[in-house]
Symmetry: C2
Subunit: 232 residues, 2 copies
């Protein structure tokens, strides 16, 4: 019997790699994306292309109004910073953090998983080359999984429990890229920029910087276009 999974798919590099890993492991993958008032809605087109290319059986885009609460440079009228975010949390959580975003996304994934009878959720969080968001840490994922199995029918009826898979959690960005390339992921379909334009990614936001550093460390050329050169 095929094992069914819901895979959160942003259109970025990480979640594309996660979908490729879930497909490699034989999961029937239902891809889930969100239109959440983000500046970078172009990522939804990327998500659709990635879902089709990597063989997801279907792809839903759910409207989620996070902009109504504000509080983030990704959804409110706060400029996206172009400074180097650094490698640790000493500078605090950046303004691109969207309050409770992964909690909300995983909750929708949980709803779909329960309707599908899926046993697995996949999310492309990494606690290595990341922006210091609290909802990318393994202790959050473990707490979510525990809560999820009390929130749903399984908590009462003892039916299929849900496992939240984070295959990238301990990988550097370079390792993620190596993994995806080995599985045939076309990173030219993906977009990571928080402030994209028709002529390319900005190259300066923290997401672009993490991506470019990852490709550099992997010794591979990033197939997408950037508006600004690499700065050191």
């Amino acid at each position: 019997m095929t094992t069914v999974a819901v895979v959160l798919l942003s259109g970025g590099l990480d979640s594309a790699t996660v979908l490729a890993l879930a497909r490699r492991d034989g999961f029937e993958c239902h891809a889930l994306s969100f239109r959440y008032g983000q500046r970078h809605a172009v990522e939804l087109e990327a998500a659709a292309a990635v879902a089709a290319k990597l063989g997801a059986v279907d792809h839903k885009i759910v409207d989620v109004d996070l902009a109504t609460f504000g509080g983030s440079a990704l959804t409110a009228d706060i400029p996206v910073p172009t400074n180097d975010p650094g490698d640790d949390l000493s500078a605090g959580i950046p303004v691109t953090y969207v309050p409770a975003r992964n909690t909300i996304f995983l909750s929708f994934g949980l709803a779909w998983a329960e309707v599908l009878g899926a046993s697995d959720l996949f999310i492309g969080v990494s606690a290595v080359d990341y922006s210091g968001y609290p909802d990318c840490r393994p202790e959050f994922i473990e707490a979510f999984e525990r809560m999820a199995n009390l929130a749903t029918k399984t908590g009462v009826e003892g039916t299929t429990s849900v496992h939240v898979n984070t295959p990238l959690i301990a990988m550097t960005k370079a390792q993620i890229i190596d993994t995806g390339l080995a599985l045939g992921v076309d990173y030219g379909l993906t977009t990571s920029c928080y402030d994209p334009a028709p002529d390319g990614a900005c190259g300066r936001c923290d997401s672009c910087r993490l991506r470019r550093r990852g490709f550099a460390e992997a010794g591979v050329e990033d197939p997408i276009a950037y508006r600004h050169p690499v700065t050191t």
Copy 2:
């Protein structure tokens, strides 16, 4: 200093009572409702009336597309049952259960709480006179609270943590009604029916049955209109 709270407000009897309790305890209350594809969208008008009457400082209605996943009589093309749900879980979880609904609603509440700097979330779940939904149980609420404090900035920066308040958790429906009446709640503004019509609540769905039984046990007349008489 005023303590800030986000109160989930459905327009029903329970959450109106919760808002009255939070106001009594001195909270500055931000009321949050959801347009989630429910059959009974009339409850949003009730929520707005209740929020205004009970002195919430503001009231947001967030669009949440749960109907896209289906799986419930409240959001999909499944008839709302009119049989008596009984008092325990032996008959299983009813088809009016909406997968992961409270998880999703609390996650949005968490997002707003983080933006507001609110320390408290309120939700009107009861584990006594309820429909057997897994996400109304105290063990779910405790797991959600634990997850919530790892999901947000507090988990990294040690700022205000969030407490999920469930003041009705151990109350019978009659006790909830008594409590609300003592605080001046006008239950004529509320609606509980899963299948309402312009001439009143159905009187037969599990939510109507729980409500009518509660008023009967409290020895108080329910101020709203019903289309069908009480059956025994």
